[in-house]
């Protein structure tokens, strides 16, 4: 089991180009999915805490459904199953005429899945603000909407900045699952380099280092964000 080391391969064309492309796709998927996840996740998370039973129920169902099925399977459901369930024309459009079907599918699958996790954080954030403050706002004469707008959301958003950091990192990592539907993001590219050059060590190391760098940068950025959003002297914000 002798192994021929060759780090130079990472800097040769076309392999360097592949890595760069892989990073671009990883970012493209992660960022777009994150935007989707934030929008849907915040709506669903707020919905779960509303006094209206039906809305809360629908939002709870969403969260349970999306977080209890493996993401890989959700990718497949969106990619293979969904086009077969819609009317034929539409299915064909999705599969053939939609630009970048793998990319769009990956973003939707990853975004909606992550939304269920974001929703949980949002809900936890709102609930941790506590009934005391909520009652205070109501007693002040605020309506439900005003209470959310001026009290619950501003506080809970600040509280959930740290858990959101880790969700943001998770979405980068989970974007690697897009390789199963044929999107050549970073992990897929490193694997392809391993196949072409048989220098698996080097290829996987390159991908690992890039992921670690992404994590480091994201953590730093979020730490700054945390500092700016911290509420002076409030319990729960360290």
């Amino acid at each position: 089991m002798d192994y021929n080391w060759n780090w130079g391969v990472l800097f040769e064309e076309p392999y360097l180009g592949w890595l760069v492309m892989g990073v671009q796709w990883t970012f493209a998927v992660a960022i777009a999915a994150w935007a989707l996840a934030l929008v849907v996740g915040i709506l669903v998370g707020v919905g779960r805490t509303l006094p209206s039973r039906p809305i809360a129920l629908v939002c709870t169902a969403y969260v349970e459904l999306f977080r209890n099925v493996p993401l890989l399977l959700q990718m497949f459901l969106w990619y293979f199953v969904m086009p077969e369930l819609v009317p034929d024309d539409m299915g064909r459009w999705i599969k053939r005429d939609m630009p970048n079907p793998e990319y769009v599918t990956a973003v939707i699958a990853l975004g909606l899945y992550t939304a269920s996790r974001v929703a949980e954080q949002v809900r936890a954030g709102i609930e941790s603000v506590g009934t005391g403050l909520t009652n205070a706002a109501y007693a002040n004469g605020f309506s439900v909407a005003q209470t959310y707008r001026y009290v619950l959301l501003p506080i809970s958003f600040r509280l959930i900045v740290p858990p959101m950091t880790s969700e943001f990192l998770t979405i980068f990592k989970n974007s690697s699952l897009a390789l199963t539907i044929g999107l050549l993001e970073l992990t897929a590219q490193s694997q392809q380099i391993a196949e072409y050059t048989f220098n698996g060590f080097e290829a996987y190391t390159a991908a690992t280092v890039i992921y670690v760098c992404i994590a480091l940068v994201a953590t730093l950025v979020m730490q700054v964000a945390e500092r700016y959003t911290r509420i002076p002297g409030y319990m729960g914000s360290k």
Partner: protein
């Protein structure tokens, strides 16, 4: 692919069951291994001995910033190289999952230990108990009781994560469902069925977690 044919599920039930067994086995063993190794990492981090806690922290943060798929690739191909002998793909995957999940378990366990109020340690010290007696009788029992719901939740996540061995064709439930789906050309039925199975198991798990939490606050 017009028309549903759910008979395909019945015909392949034994095969699917084998896959599910492998998923569950992998999950169970990885949870055990992950908790043992994770506790070790957590104790290292809280030990107050700088090299140890630095080592553990580096490991945990490294693993947590890398996608599981990449870790699986690493271990699937490199464990035999490192060991100098093949150990079979199941064990490669098991090692990958154990080491990967240990990083997550260690964070849970660390938080669990820290969730025990400092006053409890003080109370133990004030009656003259030593470090190990306090850990053994006061801190760890409370820490684990506090942690159980989160540990179970992480177990559910781990169970879902095992589906990723699909990328190396290990015959877990996900892979097996895919094989049936593709060889029989019954994608829609099989993937929906697989989703239902995962959902039922994981949802039951999260109901159990909720029950635990309610039992604890009551």
């Amino acid at each position: 692919m017009a028309g549903f044919d759910f008979a395909v599920i019945l015909n392949n039930l034994p095969f699917l069951w084998q896959g599910l067994q492998l998923s569950l086995l992998l999950t169970g063993l990885a949870i055990l291994g992950g908790i043992v190794f994770g506790t070790l990492l957590a104790l290292m981090r809280l030990s107050g001995i700088l090299p140890l806690s630095l080592l553990a922290a580096t490991y945990v943060n490294l693993i947590r910033s890398v996608p599981l798929i990449l870790v699986i690739f690493w271990f699937y191909f490199l464990v035999p190289l490192a060991l100098g002998r093949p150990i079979g793909s199941f064990y490669s995957a098991l090692i990958a999952f154990t080491l990967f999940e240990a990083a997550y378990f260690s964070e849970i366990i660390r938080a669990g230990i820290q969730s025990v109020r400092k006053g409890q340690v003080h109370a133990g010290q004030a009656t003259g108990l030593n470090y190990w007696q306090i850990q053994r009788h006061i801190v760890l029992p409370q820490a684990f009781r506090n942690m159980i719901p989160i540990l179970v939740t992480q177990g559910i996540i781990l169970f879902q994560d095992t589906s990723l061995v699909f990328v190396v064709s290990l015959r877990d439930f996900m892979t097996v469902s895919s094989i049936v789906a593709r060889t029989e050309g019954r994608l829609v039925e099989m993937y929906i069925f697989a989703a239902c199975v995962y959902f039922v198991i994981c949802f039951a798990g999260s109901l159990f977690v909720r029950h635990l939490q309610k039992a604890r606050t009551a």
